[in-house]
Amino acid sequence: MRVRITEYLDIDLEREFWCCNRCGGDLISAREPYKRGCLLHERDPREIHKPISDHPVFNYSFDPDWVRIIEFYCPHCGVMVENEYLPPGHPLTNDIQPDIDALKRKHAGGGAS
C-alpha cells in the first residue's frame, strides 16, 4: 500500500520505499533520507530571484556568498520534490524521518491513506 506523505512523496509500506507521487518511480529505502534518492542541483539563487535593484548586495535577491539553492528532483520524471536554501557547503536537512514501524501499524488492516 502507498501512503502519500508530502505533495511529491509517497511511501510504499510493503517495500518500505520512498516513491515519487507524480510518476510512481522508486527513490530509495524509506529508512533512508529521501534526498539520497533524488537528483541534486546547486543553483546561484540569482538565477531564480533576479536582483531588483542595481546595488551589489542589497538588491532584494539572495547573496550567493551567503546562500545557494539546492534543488532535489525525481530522477524519473524531473519534478522538483523539494529545495533547500543553505550557506555554501552546509550539511543538508534530513527533514522527514517517519517512524516506519508506527506508520505500518497505523495502516495495518488496509485502511486508506
Binding site: L86, D95, D99, A102
Partner: protein, 710 residues
C-alpha cells in the same frame, strides 16, 4: 522498542530545559519554565462544579470578556501599535496560568504568567509589597519573562470577598521604553543596560488607581510621555473592565466554579492537543534557518529546529545554535522561544482548539543555551524576536510536513512572511506631541502559499491572528511622517511555486511636515526567513531603502507624483535623489523634510514545483503586475503572446517537459553531488559569530546531514 526521544543526544555543559541565566532581582527563571501549576485549593474545589455543557458556555462567556476587553483597549488607546492589534487581553487562573486569551498576540498572553507567578511566590507575603484587591502590577523585563523592554504587561488580581479567583492581564507593544534609541530597538546595543527601563512585577497602583509617583516616573523615562500616560491608563481601564465582568460571573456561578472552570479549560486544551497529536504520524522532522545579522554587523548565525513527535507528545529541540555574541541585540530567551511558537501552533497546527497554555502541556522545549536562542543575562535582547521567529518559521515548515498526511491537511502552508525591515520614527506629529514607534504597515505581511492555493496578500501581522495595518489618514496625524503611497505591487517580490506566496503591503512614507529621526532594525537583507514548501521557492530578502534629496515634494506640488511601487522605486529609481540601499539595522539618523522611506515586511514563500503552476494563473500574475514577463517565461516556462497574454498550452507543456528533462540531465546523484558541496565554505568574515563550521557546537562535523552528531 526504543523511543524516538531516546535518540536525542544533548551536548554536555549546555542547558536545554531551562534558562542560561539564574535568579535575579525580580526574576526567577525556575518559575518560568514550569508547566501549568498543580490545582490550588479553590481550583480543586470548583474543578468539577460545571458540567461539560456548562463549561463550554463558561468558556464562551470568558471569551466574550477578553474580546470585549480587546475592543475597550483599542478604543481608549492612542498608540498606533495597539490600535493595529499588537496586544493581547487574557484571563489567568488564580495560580497565574493562561486560561482564556483574546485574538490578539497569543504569545504575549503566554509571557504574562511570569509576572503573576513571581508576585504570588515572592511579593504576596512580603510585608513591603503584598497582594490586595485593587493592586495594579507592571512588567517589561525580558529576564523576568517579557519579550523585550518595549513589550509591556499590566496585571490586576481579581478578588472576591478576600479570595483570589483570577487575574486580568493585558500585554502589548509600546512606542518607547527609555532605551538609548527611540522606540526601544537599538541594533547597536551590546548589553541590556542600553535598552531602557526594566521593571519586573512592580506594583504601580493600589485601590484601582495608578499611583501618581509611578506614573510620573514612567512618563519621565520615555520620549512619548503623553502617549505613554494615555496608554497606561487605557491598560488599567481594560483590566478593570475584565475584573468587573469576571466578578459578575463569580456572582452568578460562585468563586470556586469560576476558578476551577478556568483551570479545567487548560486541562481540556491539553487533552485536545494530545488527541490531535495522536492523529499525526510519529517521526523526527527538521528544518533550519540562518540569520544574516547580529545587529550592528552582518554575520551568519545558525538556528536549527528538530521536532520529535511520538504518540500524544512532541519535543521541540533547538540544538546546534550559534553562541551568544554580546555584540548586538539579536538574543532570545528560553521563554521567548517557547511562547513565540504560539504564533504557529495556535493559528495553524492546533487551529480550532482553545488557545491557552494547555496547548503547550504535551510539548517539551529543549532550547540550547547559552546561545542566541537561550541567552545569558546581560546581553542585549530587543531583537531576540528575530531568533524566536526563525524557530517559528522552521516549526511552521515542520508542522506542514507533519500535517500533510493527517486529517489536518487544511493547515498545510508555507510560513507567513518574517523578513523584517522595521522603521522606527521619532518626532513631532500633526497634533504637536512627540510620538515614536514602528509603522504598523508591518502588519501587512504576505502569507505563505497554501497546499491548495496562493498565499493571501497583506494578510496581517506576523505575531497576531487579527491585526490591522492602520488607516493612512490616522497615521499621518499620529505619526511624525506622512504616507505618500501604499499598495501591493512588488513585482517579482514573492516566492514562486505551483501556488505563489502572498505579497506584502508596501508603504512609501515621507518625513513631513517635520524632520524626523528614524532608526530601523530587522533581518533578511541578503538571505530570507520566508521558506517555501515542497519545492516552492522562498520569499526574497528585504533590505532597507531611503531616498534623500529627492524631488517627491516638487512633483506633489505640481500634481505630477507618479504611482510609486516597490519595483518602480527600487528598480527604476522613479524619483530623483540619493538612493541608499542598506542593511535593515541602522542607528538613529535625522532625516530632512521630504526624505522618502520604503517599508514592507516581505512576501511569503511558494508551494510546490513552479512547473506545475496553472499557466492561466501565471498570466493573471503578469496582468496584475505580480510577476514580470521574464519570470513567466524563464521560471514558470509559460509560452504566451506578450500582447494578448494568451497561453499556448501545447507549447507550454512541451517547454516544461523540456525543462524536466534538463533537470534530469543536470541533476547529480547524491554520492556524486555531496562531496563537492560539502567542500565549500562561506567566506571567513561571514563566520565571525557563527561558532564552529558547519555545526557551531561540534568541531569538525563532517556528515552530509546536520543533526546527526554522536
Amino acid at each position: 522498542m526504543t523511543s524516538l526521544r531516546d535518540q536525542i543526544k544533548l551536548h554536555e555543559g549546555l542547558v536545554y530545559d531551562r534558562h542560561a541565566y539564574g535568579k535575579g532581582p525580580g526574576w526567577d527563571p525556575e518559575l518560568i519554565v514550569e508547566k501549568a501549576a498543580p490545582l490550588s485549593a479553590i481550583e480543586r474545589e470548583g474543578y468539577d462544579l460545571l458540567s461539560d455543557v456548562e463549561l463550554e458556555i463558561f468558556y464562551h462567556k470568558m471569551l466574550t470578556i477578553v474580546e470585549e476587553a480587546r475592543e475597550v483597549w483599542q478604543n481608549l488607546s492612542i498608540s498606533d501599535i495597539i490600535l493595529a492589534g499588537d496586544m493581547s487581553t487574557a484571563v489567568f487562573t488564580p495560580s497565574g496560568d493562561l486560561a482564556v486569551a483574546s485574538t490578539g498576540i497569543h504569545f504575549h498572553a503566554l509571557l504574562n504568567y511570569a509576572q503573576s507567578k513571581f508576585i504570588l511566590k515572592y511579593y504576596r507575603d512580603d510585608p513591603t509589597v503584598g497582594l490586595r484587591d485593587g493592586d495594579i502590577f507592571f512588567f517589561n523585563n525580558p529576564l523576568a519573562g517579557s519579550t523585550h523592554a518595549p513589550d509591556m504587561f499590566t496585571a490586576m488580581p481579581v478578588f472576591h470577598e478576600g479570595e483570589l479567583v483570577a487575574w486580568a492581564e493585558v500585554g502589548g507593544h509600546q512606542g518607547d521604553c527609555g532605551s538609548v534609541s527611540p522606540g526601544g530597538f537599538n541594533p547597536y546595543a551590546t548589553s541590556r543596560f542600553e535598552e531602557g527601563f526594566h521593571m519586573a512585577g512592580v506594583k504601580i497602583g493600589e485601590n484601582f488607581r495608578i499611583r501618581k509617583d509611578m506614573l510620573d516616573y514612567l512618563c519621565g523615562s520615555v520620549r512619548n510621555p503623553f502617549v505613554f500616560a494615555v496608554e497606561l491608563r487605557s491598560r488599567v481601564a481594560t483590566c478593570l473592565r475584565m475584573r468587573d465582568r469576571i466578578l459578575r460571573e463569580v456572582e452568578r456561578r460562585g468563586p470556586a466554579a469560576v476558578s476551577g472552570g478556568l483551570r479545567r479549560l487548560i486541562d481540556r486544551s491539553s487533552e485536545l492537543a494530545s488527541d490531535r497529536l495522536r492523529q499525526i504520524n510519529d517521526g523526527v522532522y527538521r528544518s533550519i534557518l540562518f540569520n544574516d545579522t547580529i545587529g550592528a554587523e552582518k554575520g551568519l548565525v545558525r538556528i536549527p529546529v528538530t521536532v520529535i513527535k511520538e504518540g500524544g507528545e512532541m519535543t521541540i529541540l533547538v540544538q546546534g545554535v550559534s553562541p551568544p555574541n554580546g555584540k548586538g541585540p539579536v538574543h532570545a530567551t528560553w521563554h521567548l522561544v517557547r511562547a513565540s511558537q504560539a504564533v504557529y501552533l495556535f493559528a495553524y497546527f492546533f487551529r480550532g482548539l482553545m488557545p491557552n497554555v494547555g496547548l503547550f502541556e504535551p510539548l517539551t522545549f529543549l532550547i540550547e543555551g547559552p546561545s542566541v536562542a537561550n541567552s545569558p543575562e546581560d546581553v542585549a535582547h530587543t531583537e531576540g524576536t528575530i531568533i524566536s521567529a526563525a524557530v517559528v518559521q522552521s516549526f511552521h515548515i515542520i508542522g506542514s510536513k507533519m500535517l500533510f498526511d493527517s486529517p489536518f491537511r487544511e493547515n498545510v502552508s508555507a510560513p507567513f512572511s518574517r523578513n523584517m525591515v522595521a522603521l522606527v520614527f521619532y518626532g513631532s506629529n500633526l497634533f504637536g506631541y512627540r510620538a515614536t514607534g514602528i509603522t504598523s504597515t508591518g502588519n501587512g505581511a504576505g502569507q505563505g502559499a497554501r497546499f491548495d492555493g496562493d498565499g493571501e496578500h497583506s494578510t496581517g501581522f506576523y505575531w497576531a491572528s487579527m491585526t490591522d495595518a492602520g488607516e493612512v489618514e490616522e497615521f499621518d496625524a499620529r505619526y511624525p511622517f506622512t504616507i505618500i503611497a501604499r499598495g501591493l505591487l512588488g513585482t517579482d517580490y514573492h516566492g514562486f511555486g505551483m501556488y505563489r506566496g502572498g505579497s506584502a503591503l508596501i508603504e512609501v512614507s515621507m518625513a513631513y511636515p517635520n524632520p524626523v529621526v528614524m532608526t530601523s532594525w530587522g533581518t533578511s537583507d541578503v538571505i530570507s526567513h520566508n521558506p517555501g514548501l515542497f519545492g516552492g521557492y522562498w520569499g526574497p530578502p528585504n533590505p532597507r531603502l531611503t531616498i534623500t534629496k529627492n524631488d517627491a515634494l516638487k512633483l506633489m506640488a505640481e500634481g505630477a507624483l507618479p504611482e510609486l511601487t516597490h519595483h518602480s522605486l527600487a528598480a527604476e529609481r522613479q524619483l530623483g535623489g540619493d538612493y541608499a540601499f542598506e542593511s535593515s539595522s541602522v542607528n538613529p539618523k535625522e532625516f530632512e523634510i521630504g526624505d522618502v522611506f520604503l517599508c514592507d515586511t516581505g512576501s511569503g514563500g511558494g508551494y510546490g514545483d513552479v512547473l506545475e503552476r496553472d499557466p492561466e494563473a501565471v498570466m493573471t500574475d503578469v496582468r496584475e503586475g505580480m510577476i514580470s514577463a521574464d519570470v513567466a517565461s524563464r521560471v514558470y516556462r509559460v509560452v504566451y503572446n506578450e500582447e494578448t497574454l494568451r497561453v499556448d498550452h501545447a507549447a507550454t507543456e512541451a517547454l516544461r517537459n523540456e525543462e524536466r528533462q534538463a533537470r534530469i540531465a543536470r541533476g547529480k546523484r547524491f554520492d556524486d553531488f555531496i562531496g563537492g558541496w560539502l567542500a565549500q565554505k562561506p567566506k571567513e568574515h561571514l563566520l565571525t559569530y557563527y561558532g564552529d563550521w558547519p555545526d557551531p557546537r561540534v568541531p569538525g562535523y563532517d556528515k552530509p546531514f546536520w543533526g546527526e552528531h554522536d
